[in-house]
């Protein structure tokens, strides 16, 4: 099913189709852009559907710009239409972090990524889905994309979840321990005073797994 694109956009190809949104690579005013469109859902009454798509579109566009202001590379937001639920943003051409994991510069990238995430967090923003696929090396710049699950938050737990997601993806690598160390060194250098608390929480999440903790809490209560 092809979605309707904003006026003036020509689809080159669809990059990603999820449950909530379609991401298309398009040509717009002579340049390559990415259009993210939040799909209208027939199961929601239109009032609620409009509200959900509108508020998420606005939030995502806002997060992309706020992150940029905080010194984190993100796609440029060119145009937003909350009513139709789309964002036109710059296309970040490059390689995902995943495909770079065996390259000699990888440890250095991981260290820089730590610094970038620290900067993001110190600005009170969490990414919400910090997988390697959402980190792009474009030229010599590391760019964070897809803030669809992001939010403004200074909660230690949410920041720790970001880091936990990222370092979990490093687990299969043989130099895992040194990579994590590099990441956290980078993070510490820019995340400010909350870094220590966040790091402690990351360790705690690792110990509890996703659900173990709740279960333990219940058991100790009963």
């Amino acid at each position: 099913m092809l979605n309707r694109l904003p006026q003036g956009c020509t689809r080159i190809r669809t990059l990603y189709q999820g449950a909530e949104a379609i991401v298309d690579l398009c040509e717009w005013m002579g340049t390559k852009v990415v259009v993210k469109t939040r799909i209208s859902k027939g199961y929601r009454i239109s009032e609620l559907d409009d509200f959900v798509r509108k508020s998420r579109t606005v939030r995502e566009a806002s997060l992309l710009s706020s992150a940029k202001k905080a010194g984190v590379e993100t796609p440029f937001v060119y145009h937003v239409n909350p009513v139709e639920g789309w964002i036109i943003m710059s296309y970040v051409e490059g390689e995902g972090l995943r495909s770079l994991q065996y390259s000699s510069v990888f440890p250095n990238l991981v260290n820089r990524l730590g610094m970038i995430v620290g900067r993001l967090h110190s600005a009170g923003i969490v990414h919400g889905d910090l997988t390697p696929a959402n980190v792009i090396l474009s030229g010599d710049r590391l760019t964070l994309i897809d803030f669809g699950l992001g939010e403004y938050s200074n909660e230690v737990e949410k920041k720790a979840e970001d880091i936990y997601t990222l370092i979990s993806s490093l687990t299969p690598l043989s130099d895992y321990d040194s990579l994590v160390k590099l990441f956290l060194e980078g993070y510490r250098s820019s995340a400010g005073e909350s870094a220590i608390k966040v790091e402690e929480r990351v360790k705690e999440i690792g110990r509890r797994g996703r659900y173990v903790e709740k279960e333990l809490r219940r058991q100790t209560e009963s």
Binding site: K41, R44, L48, E215
Partner: protein
Amino acid sequence: MGERLTCIGIESTAHTFGIGIVKYHPFQILCDVRRVYRPVSGGIHPSEAARHHIEKAVEALEEAMSRVDLKQVDIVAFARGPGLGPCLRVGAALARMLSLKLEKPLVGVNHAASHINIARALTRAIDPVVLYVSGGNTQVIYASEGKYVILGETEDIAVGNLIDVFARKAGLGFPGGPKVMELASKSRRLLKLPYSVKGMNVSFSGMLTMLEGLVGKEPVEDLCFSLQETAFSMLIEVSERAMAMLGVKEFIIAGGVGANARLRQMAGKMCEERNAVFKDYPIEYYADNGVMIAWEGIIQYMLGEKLNVEDSMVKPRWRIVDVKPPPSGLYEN
């Protein structure tokens, strides 16, 4: 599987005391007896519900025996958890007694897995994402490679709990589901309530707080309508996200909240829009019952599960991730 098995299943996790008898293969329901506890005021009081179950156990068993000769029974199953301890112990006691009396193996089954498997037996769903919604549970579950995986769940209260507590505050009685559904159908006015979806998790406590504050200030029909539309949209959204992530084309709902027609309608619509199939079944099997316990008893028995009476204590906090799903081929013929 040449063997033919008959299992008696006893359900007593919460408000329902149920006895079901199922035969396999082919799958056949031989009897389904239920006695439902209705609190005079407030929600479920565990000890009162347990007393209700004790009082009704004998007559329920007699009714089952009037339909099926217990000499046919090969397995005795009971819901071992999760649930309310005092209630669980009533069913467990009856099951132990029957197992000893009939000299048949005792199997303790998981209530959530039982809901899922009765739904699968009735719909022949081969590879579904399951939305499990009841008074005490809200989870998105998938059976993968020999284990159940919880993909998403509530971060605070269950959706059934949201409905029941709201209904109580609004003076609608317990259980709130049917009454809320009826009143909701009389309104089209949406009040803005917190729509709280985070990844594949949901949260309802903010919505409950807000609704409680609006009781008496806004028409109760509008409150019911807004609750249903908002909460159910959240549930269907996270279910769809799980289906998209896994590339799954079947969807089932299990648990008592599935009896709500609006929730099932939304499920149908969501599946239609993504070329998937919502597999629906008769609403009486969404509610707690003994049949599902009997069917899960047969599955677990075939997987080699058996309990000694002395090791058969109940497990009120038993999570489905620690249970084995049926072999993948079970629903394919």
